[in-house]
């Protein structure tokens, strides 16, 4: 079990070493500061990397090169962007509510960074091991809605207000499927602690890990979770709150310079955080998928999975157009909500179909898998049929004026 060895625990040991060499009264403080500083540096660095990867990836998807001027292959583009946003003038509208306008980006970034406290990024690498970690994540994450409202309202601009209203409506609607799809995992794991949930998945039967995504309800739950996560983080195709073509930039239209960069940062950090939670809940956190791969350090697994999910986000962004508001709401309440409830039901059935009910290992496991898959798939087909009924999509033909 204790595979990986020194490389796996290198950061943990480093942390212990530093804390061990500080005077005793300062030890708590130093250990807290180290955790916070590491989280900020690592994820802000990841943000910088992601911005350039996203632009290059989107470019390739659209058969372009993407940024390739600053440094070799454009890898120093984030530096140029940082310099630009730091040196730009910080414009605050005269009629804006100055205090709230100033506080909104700070609250947003602060709240988003708080959510990282409970993410296990590696074995023994969790800033705070809370008994109710998942609950903490969602509770603190609720603060982002408020920060977005503050930004939209204080700017005293109708576009930003519209953007904030859209953002809040969307986030409230999609928070429900997000939490409900996590409930299936919490139910099965029997704990709210992120660390314990990962440890439950880091066990192996023969070679395969017990990741929840390998179960039918886990797979469906993971997909639903990621869809809801996309909406929660306001990313395309759910980027209505920003909607460049209609409300220009939504709630941060009146922000410029460094405050704008903070919003940008917060948006990406939110995406990483919620992806990290998805990894923790469904993809086994820092664990390896096969027992013979456990020699790779746990933190490499976590960040590898995170980068994969980020790539998926970019891919989806390059593929799908933006939804309309009514489509967004219909999708949340008429598809996501029932499907997450069905996933919970399926997880319950999975829990009770033990070997005692369905029979011994090879055949019993297959039966269990199929039954649970059917419980999800049949309602999915019915629901999809119902939603699509009477909605024939025809090829549009355009007639030009003569």
């Amino acid at each position: 079990m204790v595979a990986g060895g020194a490389a796996d625990q290198v950061f943990v040991n480093l942390d212990h070493w530093i804390v061990g060499h500080t005077p005793v009264p300062l030890q708590t403080l130093v250990s807290i500061v180290i955790s916070i500083a590491t989280i900020i540096v690592v994820f802000a660095g990841l943000f910088a990397l992601t911005t350039v990867f996203e632009r290059k990836g989107l470019g390739r998807i659209q058969n372009r090169y993407g940024p390739n001027r600053v440094g070799p292959c454009g890898v120093f583009q984030p530096l140029a962007d940082a310099v630009k946003s730091l040196t730009k003038e910080d414009v605050v509208p005269r009629s804006a509510d100055h205090v709230v306008h100033y506080l909104a980006p700070l609250v947003l970034v602060g709240v988003v960074f708080l959510t990282y406290a409970v993410l296990p990024v590696g074995r023994n690498m969790t800033a705070v091991n809370l008994d109710a970690g998942v609950l903490f994540f969602f509770a603190v994450g609720a603060g982002t809605e408020l920060a977005i409202f503050m930004a939209g309202w204080s700017s005293h601009n109708k576009y930003s207000l519209l953007g904030a209203m859209r953002a809040i409506a969307q986030m409230i609607s999609y928070e429900i499927p997000l939490i409900l799809s996590s409930v299936a995992v919490i139910m099965t794991a029997g704990t709210l602690s992120t660390v314990a949930i990962v440890e439950k998945q880091a066990r192996y039967s023969s070679t395969l890990a017990h990741w929840y995504v390998f179960t039918p309800w886990g797979l469906a739950g993971f997909i639903l979770f990621m869809i809801a996560a996309t909406a929660e983080t306001n990313r395309s195709p759910f980027d209505l709150p920003e909607g460049e073509s209609e409300i220009i930039a939504g709630y941060f239209i009146e922000y410029s310079g460094f405050k704008f960069a903070l919003f940008f940062l917060a948006e990406y950090l939110e995406m990483f955080a919620v992806s990290g939670l998805g990894i923790t809940l469904f993809l086994g956190g820092w664990s390896a998928p096969f027992s013979f791969l456990t020699w790779i350090p746990s933190w490499i697994w976590f960040f590898g999975k995170l980068l994969t999910l980020i790539f998926a986000f970019i891919w989806v962004r390059g593929t799908l157009p933006r939804l309309r508001m009514d489509q967004l709401m219909n999708f949340a309440w008429k598809f996501m909500l029932p499907m997450t409830l069905i996933v919970i039901l399926s997880a319950g059935i999975w829990h009770f179909l033990t070997a005692a009910v369905v029979g011994p290992k090879p055949l019993g496991a297959v039966i269990r898998w199929l039954v649970c898959a059917l419980v999800i798939f049949a309602p999915f087909i019915t629901l999809a049929r119902t939603l699509e009924r009477g909605r024939k999509i025809e090829k549009r033909t355009y007639r030009f004026a003569e």
């Binding site: 809370l130 609950l135 509770a139 603190v140 809605e145 409202f149 309202w153 207000l161």
Partner: protein, 186 residues
């Protein structure tokens, strides 16, 4: 009384006071949120992890947003800079006093308070309730009340949906076979 408690208490009370005295309604709502968050932090400080996080999730995540949304939708954000004390304030004060009296009575007569009065012993014997225990208690001992509440909430939700629905229908009762509005189509 530790330093953390003092800071949080001051923050919570300041938030509450600001919520009452600030002029703009949105500022009041935001100050109220600070009070909610301070309260949640107090719970966490006392070791009531679940209660604190639930407070945060429900009050900051839902109630505050609801208040803010209501203010926005009713265009109340800019109104009444003059009237801070209204006649309704007196009734509010009476209700607040009554609630405070009941809470105070509950606290002073509870076993914890007596233990506190006796000495510092009660602090060490404060129950360590984990999320698991709360869940087990809810699902075993209090499962019936829980289900009743769930049923009631569902009924309320359905009622709200029907209310909203009726209103839309009754906009044009005389109109002969109006085309179904796009919102009603699935």
């Amino acid at each position: 009384m530790t330093l953390a408690f003092l800071i949080l208490a001051v923050l919570t009370v300041a938030g509450g006071v600001a919520a009452m005295t600030l002029r703009r309604l949105v500022h009041c709502a935001l100050a109220l949120t600070v009070a909610f968050a301070g309260l949640a932090a107090l719970y966490l400080n006392l070791g009531a992890e679940f209660a604190g996080l639930a407070q945060l999730l429900v009050y900051v995540g839902a109630i505050a947003i609801l208040i803010v949304f209501a203010i926005l939708l009713t265009h109340g954000g800019e109104s009444d800079p003059e009237k801070v004390f209204s006649p309704a304030g007196i009734a509010g004060g009476v209700i607040a006093l009554a609630v405070f009296a009941v809470l105070g009575w509950a606290v002073t007569t509870s076993s914890v308070a007596h233990g506190w009065g006796a000495g510092a012993a009660a602090q060490t014997s404060a129950p360590q309730t984990s999320v698991r225990e709360i869940g087990l208690t809810l699902m075993q001992r209090y499962v019936l009340p829980l289900e009743v509440i769930a049923l009631m909430l569902t009924a309320a939700m359905i009622g709200a949906v029907i209310l909203a629905w009726r209103e839309k229908r009754s906009v044009d009762p005389g109109a002969p076979s109006a085309p179904p509005s796009p919102e009603l189509r699935v």
